[in-house]
Every structure is written in structure tokens, then in C-alpha cells.
């Protein structure tokens, strides 16, 4: 139990996937322009990360490890995640159009997201149990969402600010991301696993 709580805290704050480990920077900068899209993307990431970690963990433990095929893990994980997301998208469109409207456009975006692959790879590398892997995946995704939503809030305000010409656009966004990352440095060393 203690380890699970530690996992949650560590991967939301201390080892935040975006701001401390620098995974998933592309959607972090690309989808953070508006709060609405940021929230939609966050939900989709939480959803996909949890499912893909579950399936890749099973694949790793019951197929790759017994047959001594660890060198295949990256290829196999990419294959599984991509087809899984596609499958979920197809099923979701039929079963729940409302949920599909909310998550639909973000799902294909996430298919090849490095953060999702990183969660799957780290979960087996750190030799977490199935439960621990799931908690790890959800916390990492929540950490990602936290960073994304904070960034979206800042960028919405930034739209109205008088930014000097040389810093407008991508420049000020990258500077903001850097300062945000510095702020998260404050959690460094608080807790480790």
C-alpha cells in the first residue's frame, strides 16, 4: 500500500513525465493552446495509458519473458499500442458517440506518443507487479494531464499579454515550459522509489 501511494506521488509530481522526464513534449506544446482541448487530450491520455500498460504488461510477462524475446519488446509494444488504440476508437465510435466526440480526435494522436510507450517500457523495466504497473500508468498520465492543463491555463492568459515582438509565438511558449519545469524541480528529492 505504501509503495502504491509513493508511486502516485512520485509520478505525478517528482518524476512528472512532461516536466521532469521530458516525455510527450509534442502534445504538451501542440494541444495546450486552449483549456478545452487540453482537458480532452488529458482524458484520452489517461484512458490509453492505462489500457496499453495493462496489455503490454500481460504480453511481456506471458509471451516475451518465457520465450526469452526481451529484445523484441519495443517493436511488440508499438504494434500492440497502435492496434489497441485503433480498436478502442472503432468500438467507441459505435458504442458511445458522446465519448467519441470528446476523445475521438485525440486518440489517433496518442497512438504514436512516446509517453505512452515510455510508460509501458518503464513498467516492465522497473519490474512492477500488474497492480503497481496500473497505478504507475494512471499516475504518470495524471502527471501529464496536470502539466498540460497548467500550461493551457498559462497560455490562455498569455494570449492577452503584451509579449515583446521577438518572443511572440513559439518562443514565449518554450520559455514558459522551461520555467514550469524549473518550478517542478522543487519536488526533486522529496521522495524516491
Amino acid at each position: 500500500m505504501e509503495k502504491l501511494l509513493a508511486l502516485i506521488f512520485v509520478y505525478i509530481f517528482v518524476e512528472n513525465f512532461v516536466l521532469m522526464r521530458f516525455f510527450g513534449i509534442c502534445p504538451f506544446l501542440g494541444v495546450s493552446r486552449k483549456m478545452e482541448t487540453a482537458v480532452g487530450m488529458s482524458m484520452a491520455v489517461i484512458f490509453v495509458m492505462t489500457i496499453s500498460t495493462l496489455v503490454t504488461w500481460l504480453l511481456y510477462t506471458y509471451l516475451l519473458e518465457p520465450f526469452n524475446l526481451l529484445y523484441l519488446q519495443i517493436v511488440a509494444f508499438i504494434l500492440v499500442i497502435a492496434s489497441l488504440v485503433q480498436l478502442v476508437e472503432t468500438v467507441l465510435r459505435k458504442i458511445s458517440p458522446t465519448l467519441y466526440q470528446g476523445l475521438g480526435i485525440y486518440l489517433p494522436l496518442i497512438t504514436t506518443n512516446c509517453a505512452v510507450l515510455a510508460v509501458a517500457l518503464l513498467a516492465v523495466q522497473e519490474e512492477y507487479s500488474l497492480l503497481e504497473s496500473l497505478v504507475f500508468a494512471i499516475s504518470a498520465a495524471v502527471g501529464f494531464s496536470l502539466a498540460l492543463i497548467i500550461m493551457a491555463g498559462i497560455r490562455e492568459r498569455l494570449e492577452l499579454a503584451n509579449v515583446p515582438k521577438a518572443f511572440q509565438g513559439t518562443a514565449i511558449t518554450l520559455i514558459t515550459a522551461g520555467i514550469l519545469s524549473l518550478a517542478f524541480m522543487g519536488f526533486k528529492g522529496m521522495l524516491s522509489i
Binding site: 520465450f67 524475446l69 492496434s83 489497441l84 472503432t90
Partner: protein, 276 residues
Amino acid sequence: MNNMLYAVAVLGGTGIVFGVLLALASKYFAIESDPRVETIREILPGANCGACGYAGCSNYAEAVVEGKAPLNACIPGGSQCAREIAAVMGQSVEEVASLAAVVFCIGDREKAAERFIYHGIEDCAEAEKYCGGAKACPYGCLGLGNCVRACPFEAISMGAHGLPLVDLDKCNGCGLCREACPRKIIQILPKSEAGHLVLCNSHDRGKSVSRACTVGCTACRICVKACPREAIAIENNLAVIDLEKCDDCGECAKACPQGTIHPRRRVAEQSRARVG
């Protein structure tokens, strides 16, 4: 040797399993969509401006096929678009009037007084919150360009003296600028160059108007008397010209002591000259 076979079997097997699952899913979870939706969406301009009242072009196309939306609701697409949609749906349709935005304020920085120098956020709605904006006239254009940013067709640009210019070739009257303007200075009118307009938005009394702006309408009623066709009326301290009655004789523009009334032809020429 065995190792290689295992690798091929595991990866190939996983691939096949997921391939079959995807194929089954796309068969059993397929959604029947009307091919007309796609056709109509391709006819539409694709600007997703929302002038039809739907969230975007795709939503409007779906509503048309379901029979919920009128065929001629797409304002940017105009008559031609409506005709093409009608052909797809096998129905007839009325013509769509082509529309354009008109800025009802000519009080630029030289003509309209400012009460203070505004250094705040470059946004009309934000400036409005700060003591009601810098302009002495509480109805005049603040000139910070919310309409320019709102226009999806890049038809509005900010002129040199702080008033927006509408490029009539690009403007199709979707009305997003009217929504973006916190003072509702922009009106959407039929696209024509006939008729005269009172280019002022101020409902203040004459004395306050003349103190704030040299070209504002003071509701002096001279134009009402000058008009031979009784097309002009004073509504809430502002002269309004009924474009259906106006025959473009120009008596009102000659009579107006403030120079607020302009023929639409001149407005169009000026915007063309300055935009071009």
C-alpha cells in the same frame, strides 16, 4: 534457430491477432453514414465560421441531410453553394442574399477625443473593462482589433488611424466580427454599394457627442428634414437610414453638419484603396 522461430511466431501471431480483431471490429462496429454528408461537406467552404448556427461545416452538412437545417444557411458559400447543396438533396432553394460587414464608426484617433493613453492588454473587451476604454465616446471603436482577430477570412485589417477596414472582396458577412466587438459597432448589411449610411453608433445626446467626437451624429434632425423620401428617422438619439427607401440622392450627406453620413460607394472605394 528455435529462438528465431519463437520471435517470428510471437510477433507474427500478435500482429495477426490484432489484425483480425481490427477487421472484425470495423465490420461489426461499422457506422452507416449517408454519402451525401461527405458530398455536402466538400461543397461547403470549410471555414467552420459558425454563421449557419452549427458548430462547423461537418455538423451543418449532417443537419442538412437529416432535414433539420435549411439548405441556404451557409452565408460564406452564398447562392452558388446553396444551389449545389440543393442539387445534391434534390430540392429547390431560394437565393441567398450576399452580405458584408460595415463598421459604424468613423471617429478615428484624430477626430474622436481620447481621455487617457491606454497601455494595457491589446484587446477591445479588456480595454472596455478599464474605465470604459480610452475613447471619450462610450459607443466608438476602441481600435484594438478584436474584429480583426475574429475574422476567419482575413477580410478585416486595422487602418492607420485605429479603425478597422473591411475588405469587401473577402468579406462574406458571416458575422463573427459583430459578435467579437464588445460595443457592437459592426453591422451585417446586404452587400451593395447603393444607399447612404449614418456611420455613427452613439446614442448619447448631441452635446456629449460633439464634445467626444467631431464626426458623431448629434441627432440634430437636419438630415430627416433634408431627405425627400422620408427614409431617415431618429432612433434613440441616432439617425438611421432605411436602405429600402433610400434612393441614393445624397441630400442627407450634403446637409449633415457633422459629416457623419457617407454614401456606401465611397466607403467601398476608400476601403479598396486602403486595403489594396
